[in-house]
């Protein structure tokens, strides 16, 4: 059932790719660069956020006025605020695209569960940072968000009230609230880079930046939007006139919209289930190659006698499964006599793709169940028939 659903989703994803490839050369297909695009938006967010940080005062009375000051008095303040606002939306859109694309094309297979899990955490933290960003503006929507979050947290049995006090610095709206929110906006943004390191650490040559065309296009769209639709606050928050209506941002505030239909406790249970399921996705399908109908080539083996320590396979292995170690003894062939390094395959990271075999010009690597001789025998039978 799940497998059939995934197969049809894969078919639609590929159909979309084919359609886009008809318009652009395949190298410029934006869907191949969703990861790079999210990195681009994150960079825009950090730079514009730094600018806003210089002016923002996280206090109960001044937060709203400083945001207004940025919009109205600071040169280009309105534009920078708009850029921060709309690139946040862009960031969320492209990381969701990245998430769904890699899910449907099963790019979580084999040793790629680490990028997947760090990616799930990046997604959760990105949503969290977005919500705290909405609170920092300290308009009526912000106040409503704080109240709703407080109620939702308080609904957790036993630890709920304690959690709420931990997050907001006490019951109700205190003066500690906004400094905390500012930290929870900026701190996790730094954490995103830590998680990104984890996201990339098992990948060789990750595509961290989109092609120049798409960089300029995204910058242009964000600039245009911030000029045409200026980012604006709602009326100032005041305890005397509590807001009734939530102005919805569908990308970040979806959980708060669902509070209309769910009790807070159910929302928290649902969110937990979704996140845990997301972390479980890479382990859901049968992992063995036989069950997937794939060949079992076996984990790549280094032929000690031939390895010259040239590092070519080390550079080309897509998952950093090959490391170079100081060679304990010289190799046997002439080219391998003077080697300083020896390639070593880390079994847990090898996906049996054989890219190292193509990379090695000295025949020092092989897939044990799909040897060079096997390929040559197949070529010979093909040529003879």
């Amino acid at each position: 059932m799940y497998r059939r659903l995934l197969a049809s989703l894969l078919r639609w994803t590929l159909r979309l790719d084919v359609g886009i490839n008809r318009v652009y050369p395949a190298d410029f297909n934006p869907l191949y660069y969703t990861g790079g695009l999210s990195n681009l938006f994150l960079t825009i967010l950090i730079l514009s956020g730094l600018f806003l940080f210089f002016y923002y005062v996280p206090s109960y009375n001044e937060a709203y006025t400083t945001v207004q000051y940025i919009s109205e008095r600071v040169p280009y303040g309105q534009i920078i605020r708009g850029i921060h606002r709309y690139s946040a939306d862009g960031f969320m859109i492209v990381i969701l695209l990245h998430f769904f694309r890699n899910w449907f094309t099963e790019r979580f297979r084999f040793s790629r569960d680490e990028p997947w899990i760090s990616g799930m955490m990046l997604l959760v933290f990105a949503g969290f940072i977005g919500v705290t960003g909405y609170v920092l503006v300290w308009d009526q929507r912000a106040e409503l968000l704080v109240v709703m979050t407080g109620n939702a947290l308080a609904a957790i049995p036993a630890v709920g009230g304690w959690l709420r006090n931990l997050l907001f610095g006490g019951p109700g709206l205190t003066n500690l609230l906004l400094p905390r929110m500012l930290f929870l906006h900026v701190g996790p943004a730094v954490l995103l880079y830590v998680l990104l390191w984890w996201h990339y650490v098992r990948l060789r040559h990750p595509k961290v930046w989109p092609p120049a065309v798409w960089t300029l296009f995204s910058l242009g769209v964000v600039l245009l939007l911030s000029g045409l639709i200026p980012a604006a606050s709602q009326p100032q928050a005041s305890p005397t006139t509590p807001p009734r209506q939530l102005a919805v941002d569908w990308l970040f505030l979806l959980p708060y919209v669902s509070l209309k239909y769910l009790t807070p406790l159910w929302l928290i249970v649902l969110a937990t289930v979704i996140i845990v399921y997301g972390l479980y996705i890479p382990y859901q399908l049968p992992e063995t190659r036989a069950e997937m109908g794939l060949r079992e080539s076996g984990i790549a083996q280094v032929i000690d006698a031939n390895c010259t320590g040239c590092e070519l396979s080390y550079y080309d292995c897509p998952y950093n499964a090959i490391v170079m170690a100081p060679s304990p003894h010289p190799g046997v062939t002439k080219a391998a006599q003077a080697r300083k390094l020896l390639a070593i395959v880390l079994e847990s990271r090898c996906v049996e793709c054989g890219i190292c075999i193509g990379a090695c010009p000295f025949e020092a690597l092989e897939l044990p169940h799909f040897l060079e001789q096997d390929v040559q025998a197949k070529v010979l039978t093909a040529c003879r028939s």
């Binding site: 894969l10 078919r11 590929l14 159909r15 790719d17 084919v18 490839n21 395949a26 190298d27 297909n29 191949y32 660069y33 094309t105 790019r107 990948l203 060789r204 040559h205 794939l294 060949r295 080539s297 040239c310 590092e311 070519l312 550079y315 080309d316 897509p318 080219a335 996906v351 049996e352 793709c353 054989g354 890219i355 075999i357 193509g358 990379a359 010009p361 000295f362 025949e363 897939l367 799909f370 060079e372 001789q373 390929v375 040559q376 025998a377 197949k378 070529v379 010979l380 039978t381 093909a382 040529c383 003879r384 028939s385």
Partner: protein, 192 residues
Amino acid sequence: MPELGPPPKSQSQSAPAPGNPARAAGPGAAARRPKIVGFLCDWAVSAEGIVREDGTMRDLPNVTLIKVPCSGFIRPSWLEFALKNGADGTFVCGCPLGDCFNRLGNNLIQDRVAQMRRRLERQKIQPDRVGTIYYGLREQEQFVAAVREFSDRVAQLPAPPPPPPARRPAGVSPATPADGSPSGPTPAPEEP
């Protein structure tokens, strides 16, 4: 495949004689179909329905597909090995560029084939006998069309000068040429 026995031998000699007019004639072209060996990535075009049991393609019986775990797995020397053992053309099929399942395998093989074509030029073999094709899982029709076009292009090429030693490994057992023959994989260091 009764018609597949003679052609590989006769075609290389008969190719220059009838030349291009025979090719354009159409029906007569079957007599001199070029022998083509293709390497097909497991994750790229699905082989279901387009390949017979013996690995030849249903629509193009002169093309044999060899499935490999990733297009980056292929050593360019294997393409050369195929050419020297009687194939008229070889190609590699990978996922669309930028969408390799193993991230960069097709970009790597693209670079390697580009280098190999320069090498072939020095050896007086037409580099057009080697090709790269990139199609995704469901693009079978486009893939077959691309292979047909490649096969037609190879058929148009003038036959290479018949090298006598190249015939020898075809008679020997498959294991021997891997070690002994000069036509085997030549270690040619490539840039990373």
